[in-house]
Symmetry: C2
Subunit: 190 residues, 2 copies
């Protein structure tokens, strides 16, 4: 998606060779017009699939998931919640996710009320690095017996292997901007 | 707002006399059509004010803030981040907020890059109880020298005094559903 790639080039900040900060438009300050367009594009690319619910993870996936759902006839969004790994909560599906950027493990949960075997899920998130968050969401959907129809990501750092891992498991992965490398502050898209 | 009140009555779950769970449509599963309508209504009610940015707090404020911004010509949304009170981060405005429902203190931060004295802010959140989160967001805006043009809340529990506190400080507070009391599982709106 050209508008997103151009924005990453103009406003993204490279940190070392594996982190790119996009908090001016994606995950702290939100460019509402751009995120609305991202949602439209994801909806368009998955229009051939039967999808009745979007699954994302708090907090930075929410705006993209919401915009996507608006372009998919207002289907519901469910966002998984992060908490302390030690907290036991009843009535939830639970998995653990290691954040690449934060280098911390979180328990991630979804209420059993909001995922079921009748659901055809599209997983949506802002970033994919090693695929930990998406794999966690897949794991939650599997526990519920829900079918994962695809995984849509705004920005993928391909060199960290996440999408490869998910495709090997048989999932369709759509990334709107695929970063092949970050070198000396210079971003190369695939 | 009638649609929201009706939804609270049909789907809200009362817990004791001071908590109402609305995670089936507002803060875990999101009813995208309803939240889009909430955003439109907030935008309509503040249409006479000069507002160039929406400030909210992760995670449950994000969808409402995003929908509101869409109806305000796509102005940016900034969401404050919650973290451990002990974590020191450079380059941020910082305050502390005690969550009524979670009974925990969080540090709440916004990057100095995304709030400034040129900003005319609308604060948006899903819930108001004792007003802690909104007061925290006001405090962040004040640190930046930004002007708070108003505070918009989806569901207010009036009996917990938050909006009264904020109005006494001179802020305009709009709540789309104002709960006067919760007694024996029965909700009374003002």
């Amino acid at each position: 998606m050209e508008a997103l790639k151009n924005r990453i080039l103009s406003d993204g900040q490279c940190i070392g060779s594996d982190i790119i900060k996009v908090d001016s438009f994606l995950n702290h300050q939100i460019d509402v017009a751009l995120i609305s367009e991202i949602g439209k594009e994801i909806a368009r690319r998955f229009s051939a699939k039967e999808i009745n619910k979007i699954l994302t993870i708090e907090a930075s996936g929410i705006s993209i998931a919401f915009a996507t759902a608006q372009s998919m006839n207002g289907i519901p969004v469910v966002y998984a919640k992060k908490g302390s790994p030690a907290t036991i909560v009843e009535g939830v599906y639970r998995t653990e996710v290691t954040s690449f950027t934060k280098r911390a493990v979180s328990a991630v949960t979804v209420s059993k009320k909001y995922l079921s075997k009748e659901d055809n899920i599209l997983i949506v998130d802002d970033f994919m690095a090693r695929g930990e968050a998406a794999l966690g969401l897949v794991h939650l959907a599997e526990q519920a017996g829900a079918k994962v129809q695809g995984i849509a990501i705004a920005i993928e750092k391909e060199f960290q292997g996440g999408s490869e891992k998910l495709r090997q498991k048989g999932y369709e992965v759509l990334s709107l901007a695929v970063i092949a490398s970050i070198e000396d502050g210079h971003i190369t898209f695939r």
